[in-house]
């Protein structure tokens, strides 16, 4: 390890550059990258106390506005402030252009794939994706077979996790069901813009503030036959981990935030119960999993959804975004087939790379995973939030042995990937700036006619030294991401 040249005291004094990891601010020689030089100089000029005050100001902003997420423990839900780091991460226009094109390509292909697997099944017959992988996926919804989805937009809102290593950017996973985090991206931006107004202006950062407007336009475009469709967000309620986001988006879009109990089916259409009677709902941005949408069609014990909702959807009387059954395309087993899906449906080479993935459902994948358990990250195919995964190098021999038993018992439920050398970005921690591992979740909107990638994203940080887990439920935080104009 080496220290950066600026480490002559000041907030960068303890900043260790480890050549094993790509550093977002410093080049291999220890000098700031060109795009980061202004930010680096500004931070280096600040005393630790000044940065501490800024960091505290940002925290207070989050605390007072109640920008929270909920952690679900065994028997209770705890509301927590999402930790935010005050040092922004920068990406150049060229880097973003690459990501943006890759994301658009990926979502276009996945929407075509979803249409195909619920209709003709061409890609299954042609052996692009194993048929048993799709039909055996718990997220495959038989109810969606043959159903005409408005404008073939299965996924209207997508959040894709992207990491950077020395090899460049790569997709870690696609979130095609109910991706969350966009509100934290917007909250981070507001807080950091307040903290560094001059620095922000000097950097000519691309704006993200019109996200809600874009989201509304995207959702409304799915019901073009109506001049002014009634759009609503369906939330599981205030104890959901992403409730803040649901309320935030509804407020920003000026639409109703409904719970299942607010909706009722009348004459085959979905209506909201208002103080003056029933009001029809035309487009529902649902932030609730398929299983809980409709107790008649899916899980009968669900009290979060609305009886008959799926009937209204099938009848074409309401649009659901995202469509039920999209989870089949973000299953971690299917992930490794996405490059083939892109080539098959678009006849293009994937712009964004995938991470090498071993499918434990295949005998050779299972054997490799078991043999290299101490070197790999193993994940459940339907898992999320960092729960239920094993980080081999950080696990004890005992933990690995127990995990191996689970693998052997149900191999199809797991995939493994190498431990990635996630890039690191400077973070203000304990009075000094230190490097921490980061990833990035940009959001893509797919409307009737156009795609839009928000020029920014939720930049997640593993705040614990050495940790690679960026999930907020597991000790991760977030930071603002600045996409620079040309």
């Amino acid at each position: 390890m080496s220290q950066v040249p600026a480490a002559d005291g000041g907030v960068f004094a303890d900043y260790d550059l480890d050549p094993a990891y790509y550093d977002e601010m410093f080049g291999p020689d220890g000098d700031p990258r060109e795009a980061s030089s202004r930010l680096n100089a500004a931070l280096a000029d600040l005393a630790s106390d000044d940065l501490t005050k800024l960091q505290e100001g940002v925290y207070r902003h989050f605390l007072h506005e109640g920008i929270t997420f909920t952690v679900l423990d065994a028997d209770k839900a705890t509301e927590q402030i999402i930790p935010i780091d005050c040092v922004p991460r920068l990406l150049t226009a060229a880097e973003w252009d690459h990501i943006e094109r890759g994301l658009k390509q990926r979502l276009a292909a996945l929407n075509l794939f979803l249409k195909d697997v619920y209709h003709d099944g061409r890609c299954l017959r042609d052996g692009i994706v194993p048929i048993d992988l799709v039909l055996g996926c718990p997220q495959y919804r038989m109810e969606m077979r043959g159903l005409k989805v408005p404008h073939d937009v299965y996924v209207a809102v997508c959040g894709t996790d992207i990491v950077r290593t020395h090899d460049g950017f790569a997709v870690l996973e696609d979130n095609l069901r109910v991706p969350s985090g966009v509100s934290y991206m917007l909250a981070c931006r507001n807080a950091i813009k307040d903290a560094f107004p001059r620095l922000y202006r000097a950097h000519r950062v691309r704006e993200v503030a019109d996200y809600a407007e874009r989201l509304y336009a995207t959702l409304a475009s799915l019901r073009p036959s109506l001049q002014d469709p009634n759009v609503a967000i369906l939330t599981p309620g205030m104890h959901n981990s992403a409730y803040y986001e649901h309320a935030f988006l509804a407020g920003e879009m000026g639409i109703d935030l409904v719970e299942g109990q607010d909706l009722v089916l009348r004459d085959g259409a979905l209506h909201a119960r208002t103080t003056a009677g029933l009001r029809r709902v035309d487009v529902l941005y649902r932030r609730i999993d398929d299983d809980f949408l409709d107790p008649v069609q899916f899980r009968s014990e669900s009290i979060l959804g609305t009886a008959g909702l799926f009937h209204a959807y099938r009848s074409g009387n309401v649009v659901l975004a995202n469509a039920p059954g999209t989870g089949v395309a973000d299953d971690k087993s299917l992930y490794s087939y996405v490059p083939r899906i892109i080539r098959y449906f678009l006849d293009e080479e994937p712009i964004l790379a995938n991470i090498e993935t071993h499918l434990c459902r295949e005998p050779e994948g299972l054997a490799y995973t078991l043999e290299h358990l101490d070197e790999l990250v193993v994940k459940e195919v339907g898992g999320a939030g960092g729960y239920g995964m094993l980080v081999g190098p950080h696990a004890s021999a005992d933990e690995r042995a127990r995990y191996a038993e689970r693998l052997r018992a149900d191999p199809a439920n797991f995939i493994s990937q190498p431990v990635l050398a996630l890039s690191r970005a400077p973070c203000f921690i304990g009075g000094a700036i230190e490097p921490r591992h980061v990833d990035l979740r940009p959001f893509v909107l797919q409307g009737r006619d156009e795609q839009h990638v928000v020029p920014g994203g939720l930049c997640r940080v593993a705040l614990r030294r050495g940790s690679l887990v960026v999930n907020s439920s597991q000790g991760g935080g977030c930071k603002d991401l600045w996409i620079l104009e040309d």
Binding site: M238, D262, V264, T274, T275
Partner: protein, 324 residues
């Protein structure tokens, strides 16, 4: 607006008003700690708890049928009403419930209102009641009242006068009518011994923030008849019954504009009845028992108004509503 959202705004208003009512009563009793004899204080605590419809925490009955009640120390009694989580009407519980109401309607609640509500909750949650008590017993309650005033000011300043505001205010004034009626009934029913222990009509005016106005209009020598009239019929005193029921009527007229619903919705009819009740002074109101009965009937009508409001706007079956 969504029926559930209307209910949340309504209950937010009720919870905020409940905090204020409890805090005002507590402040009255806590300021007496400095110079009031212990026996008089005990009478005061029993009155406060009776007005709030609660039994004094930890109270033990002694003698026949609890003729005399041995009540615990002031710190315990005040703590029960300030920070006790198991008491749903404590300041902390009400603030928590109000914040939950606010959280459920964050999409409609202006950010400054939410921030003020959230900060108030964070403040009371983090407050160290025992430390505050050791400095000045009433300090924390005074702070709570100041924060409520701040919240009321922010609401006044930033909330659009749409149905969100109307249901918030409707909850607030419905709660106020119910509590003020209970307060007036309890005060009217005090016996002479209780009255002699400092629970005078002048104190009641102070609890209701109307003492100075009374003095300006009449004199410092407070007469029961005039005090009751002021707190019942005066249209300009914010905590008078007439002021509150008039607000309720206006709010309901805004929710169901004239002509939008014919015949008038049941809560609106009840509000008109309440207005008529408090505008006209009933005969014999000066007698203790008659006054008590009169205010209890107003309290009952306020409860009925609450149920009618819920039925008309929140819990109605879908078939009863008209699509708009």
């Amino acid at each position: 607006m969504l029926a559930r959202v209307a209910a949340e705004f309504y209950w937010l208003g009720r919870h905020v008003e409940r905090i204020e009512h409890t805090a005002r009563l507590l402040r009255f009793q806590l300021t007496r700690l400095a110079d009031c004899p212990v026996d008089d204080l005990n009478v005061g605590w029993q009155a406060v708890y009776r007005i709030l419809g609660q039994a004094p925490v930890g109270a033990t009955a002694s003698g026949e049928e609890a003729e005399a009640i041995v009540i615990p120390d002031a710190y315990t009694l005040a703590g029960e009403l300030v920070e006790e989580r198991s008491n749903p009407d404590s300041l902390l519980s009400c603030w928590e419930l109000g914040r939950e109401n606010g959280q459920r309607v964050r999409a409609q609640l202006p950010l400054p209102v939410w921030t003020c509500l959230n900060q108030g909750y964070l403040w009371i949650r983090e407050s160290d009641f025992s430390a505050a008590w050791s400095k000045a017993p009433d300090a924390l309650v005074n702070d709570a009242i100041d924060r409520l005033r701040l919240l009321a000011g922010v609401v006044q300043d930033v909330m659009p006068r749409d149905d969100t505001w109307r249901f918030l205010e409707l909850g607030r004034f419905t709660e106020r009518v119910q509590h003020q009626a209970a307060l007036l009934a309890s005060w009217a029913e005090l016996n002479s011994e209780e009255r002699a222990s400092g629970l005078s009509w002048a104190e009641l005016l102070r609890v209701c923030g109307a003492y100075e106005i009374y003095c300006r209009r009449h004199s410092t020598d407070v007469e029961k008849k005039e005090a009751v009239r002021l707190l019942t019929q005066d249209p300009e005193i914010p905590r008078s019954l007439r002021f509150s029921v008039q607000r309720i009527e206006e709010l309901l007229a805004g929710i169901d504009p004239v002509g939008a619903r014919y015949p008038l919705a049941p809560p609106h009819r009840m509000a008109l009845r309440l207005t008529a009740t408090v505008e006209v002074e009933p005969a014999g109101l000066s007698a203790e028992s008659a006054a008590g009965d009169y205010f209890r009937s107003v309290e009952d009508d306020a409860r009925t108004l609450h149920h009618l409001t819920m039925a008309a706007y929140v819990t109605h079956t879908p078939a009863e509503g008209l699509a708009t």
